[in-house]
């Protein structure tokens, strides 16, 4: 029996061991082709689009409008796969490690620290942006929120897909003057114990919420310049006011701050169920959409803090081992075209902000854009624009998340 186990072990070790060795580098010449032959190659194929799949409206938009248009325009079938960045990055990493050059993902929806991770691990194919006609035509390539993604240089490895800005939400039937600074928030939470919480880090929205407090308490975004490597201890010291603030607030929070909703979706449930009075979202028109579907009361409104809220751009990227890069490029082109961007901006469809440069768009598109009713609870684009703060460098984010766990969560455990 021992012998059998020994043999089995060695086979498995061999199996696991030889995984790195037999990489077959495939020559990929998609970038050398002209756009017409790319489209020709894409025609009749399927493109696998991996994206976070927790919002029925976004799924429906991709499955209907995008899929139908792509079929009509390029003869490409769009297969939306509901999988978030944590999981697909992990999958790509796994495939990279065993040198699987023919993967299953053609296009991903990505930004921020996920983009940085992907670039650093060399998981993305490119630079491809200049190949995409609508990118060349409609996008201001020099704009800081297009050329940099959370401070990390984009360098043509992703193209902008949409823009979002963080907003807070409250029910105007219950609250008159929602707190619009960190100070007011703390006071409000103390006056209304149990009625506020934020999503558990590393939830994307929860993490952005922390950065707002950081900006207000620890010297603004200027205090966090672009950097590749973050010194954890130094940052910890710099963030002391943030930890003090959160720990002071903690006992007045929902469930005394002993636990947090596990995702932004869970937070919205608490808000919809009236368990908390202030919510937050990274989609300015999210609440309008929820109201029109009857999932939130009609009196819900959104607002920004006096000193502004963080906005960012989200992107599309193509993995290194995408099996169908031509169709991915075709889909990129369509998604960054004015018609797709305008359709995406309609709140019933999604309500995501346009990633294109308005000055480069044809007047009829601009007219159409202006005519769209963004919904009862959505702030005007002027207000949003005037209260827009930049994101900080992606390198900070995992460190902040780690520190949050140590400073806020594990404290009582020890």
């Amino acid at each position: 029996m021992k012998k059998i186990i020994a043999i089995l072990m060695s086979i498995l070790v061999l199996l696991a061991g030889c995984t790195g060795s037999n990489s077959v580098e495939q020559k990929d010449n998609t970038l050398e082709k002209d756009w017409d032959s790319i489209l020709e190659e894409a025609s009749g194929t399927t493109v696998n689009f991996y994206m976070w799949g927790g919002d029925e409206r976004i799924n429906t938009w991709v499955d209907t409008y995008v899929a139908d248009s792509m079929q009509e325009k390029y003869g490409v079938k769009v297969n939306m796969v509901p999988m978030g960045p944590d999981e697909y990055l992990n999958k790509l990493l796994g495939e990279k490690q065993v040198s699987r050059m023919e993967g299953s993902i053609d296009l991903v929806w990505i930004n921020g620290e996920n983009f940085k991770t992907a670039r650093q691990a060399d998981l993305l194919w490119g630079p491809f942006a200049d190949k995409v006609p609508s990118y060349n035509k409609y996008i201001d390539k020099e704009a800081p929120d297009v050329a940099y993604d959370f401070g990390y240089p984009v360098e043509g490895y992703e193209i902008p897909y949409g823009k979002a800005q963080f907003v807070f939400a409250y029910d105007s039937a219950k609250l008159e003057n929602p707190p619009a600074t960190s100070e007011e928030l703390l006071q409000w939470v103390k006056d209304n114990p149990g009625r506020f919480t934020y999503p558990e880090i590393p939830d994307f929205t929860g993490s952005v919420f922390l950065r707002h407090l950081m900006y207000e308490l620890c010297g603004g975004y200027e205090a966090f310049p672009y950097t590749e490597e973050v010194d954890k201890e130094k940052l910890d010291v710099q963030l002391t006011p943030l930890w003090d603030y959160l720990n002071e607030m903690k006992e007045y929070m929902w469930r005394n701050g002993e636990t947090y909703p596990s995702s932004v979706a869970a937070l919205q449930q608490l808000f919809a169920d009236g368990e908390i009075d202030i919510s937050m979202t990274y989609h300015p028109s999210y609440m309008s959409g929820m109201i029109s579907q009857g999932l939130m009361p009609e009196t819900v409104r959104t607002y920004v803090w006096d000193k502004g809220t963080i906005g960012n751009t989200h992107f599309l990227a193509i993995p290194f081992n995408a099996p169908n890069k031509s169709a991915a490029l075709a889909l990129c082109d369509f998604l960054s075209s004015p018609e797709a961007q305008i359709s995406k901006y309609v709140p019933e469809n999604w309500g995501d902000m346009v990633a294109l440069d308005i000055n480069k768009m044809e007047p009829e598109y601009v007219e159409e854009l202006k005519g769209i009713d963004t919904g009862i609870a959505t702030l005007s684009s002027e207000i949003l624009q005037n209260h827009r703060l930049p994101e900080i460098s992606a390198s900070y984010i995992p460190v902040i998340e780690e520190l949050w766990k140590e400073r806020i969560i594990q404290r009582e455990g020890q």
Partner: protein, 268 residues
């Protein structure tokens, strides 16, 4: 005596109510249009959830089909390899039987996430990840133990006397299996079939991990909705899920068992 009968009836009825009542809530949610936070009942009913579910682009019907296909294949293949394995364990004594028994028990005890994460990298390497075949293979290991144990206990109770009898009557192997053994196996086929089907049909984690999000079975489709909290769609999907698995349970029970009283032989 009468009193105690009433008492037991009460226990049974109470528990059944607890088991069934939640479905009503699910049903109401799936038909609600607007259900504000302070209202006991929805103040507006609507078909938003069902419209989404039955619209051709929602993938619900295709993933239901895929789920059924995968689970039926898993159950079928498992059945074919469980019956002989159960016979070996139920009737024969052989060297290494203890080890085999532990091996067969292990997939129930060792958490599926251990095995799934461990083997993932090899599946990626050999192209089994993201495929229906990969999902079927990994699900087979999870359902097999249940089937093997059921058939082992049936064969144990059955012994060899019937097959010997058949041999005396000069029945060949297939005749003996078809006319002598199989009738005894019917109840086992029903309960093993139902159990294995359910384990496979409701498997989320392994399908998601090994299927890589590309093998979209019903649980994989449902998970983001439960997680993101679109309760209307999630409720509708859940009802479809339960309904299809119940219908299948009834079909298996009716077609295979035809009036054989269902007895479960099932020990660990």
């Amino acid at each position: 005596m009468l009193m105690s009968n009433v008492f037991y009836k009460l226990i049974v009825v109470c528990m059944v109510i607890v088991f069934v009542l939640p479905f009503l809530v699910l049903l109401v949610w799936s038909f609600s249009q607007s259900w504000p936070s302070n209202a006991l009942f929805p103040n507006e009913l609507g078909l938003r959830g069902w419209t989404y579910i039955f619209s051709p682009h929602s993938k619900v019907l295709s993933s239901l089909g895929l789920s059924l296909l995968i689970s039926l294949l898993v159950t079928g293949i498992a059945m074919l390899i469980c019956i002989p394995a159960g016979k070996a364990l139920g009737i024969y004594d052989f060297a290494g039987k203890n080890i085999v028994e532990i091996l067969v028990l292990a997939p129930i005890i060792i958490p599926t996430i251990t095995v799934g994460m461990g083997i993932h990298i090899v599946f990626i390497k050999y192209g089994l990840a993201d495929t229906v075949v990969g999902v079927i293979l990994i699900q087979l290991t999870v359902v097999l133990p249940y089937g093997i144990r059921i058939f082992a206990s049936i064969y144990k109770a059955l012994g060899t006397k019937w097959e010997e009898q058949a041999k005396v009557l000069k029945a060949d192997f297939w005749q003996s299996f078809r006319y002598v053994t199989l009738p005894f196996l019917y109840p086992g086929i029903v309960s093993a079939g139902i159990l294995m089907f359910n384990v496979s049909f409701s498997q989320y984690f392994l399908t998601f991990l090994i299927g890589g999000g590309k093998v979209v079975t019903l649980p994989v489709l449902l998970f983001p909705f439960v997680n993101s909290g679109d309760r209307v769609v999630a409720s509708g999907l859940s009802l479809i899920f339960i309904l299809s698995s119940l219908v299948l349970m009834i079909i298996i029970e009716k077609t295979v068992s035809n009036r054989v009283e269902q007895t479960e032989f099932y020990y660990l």
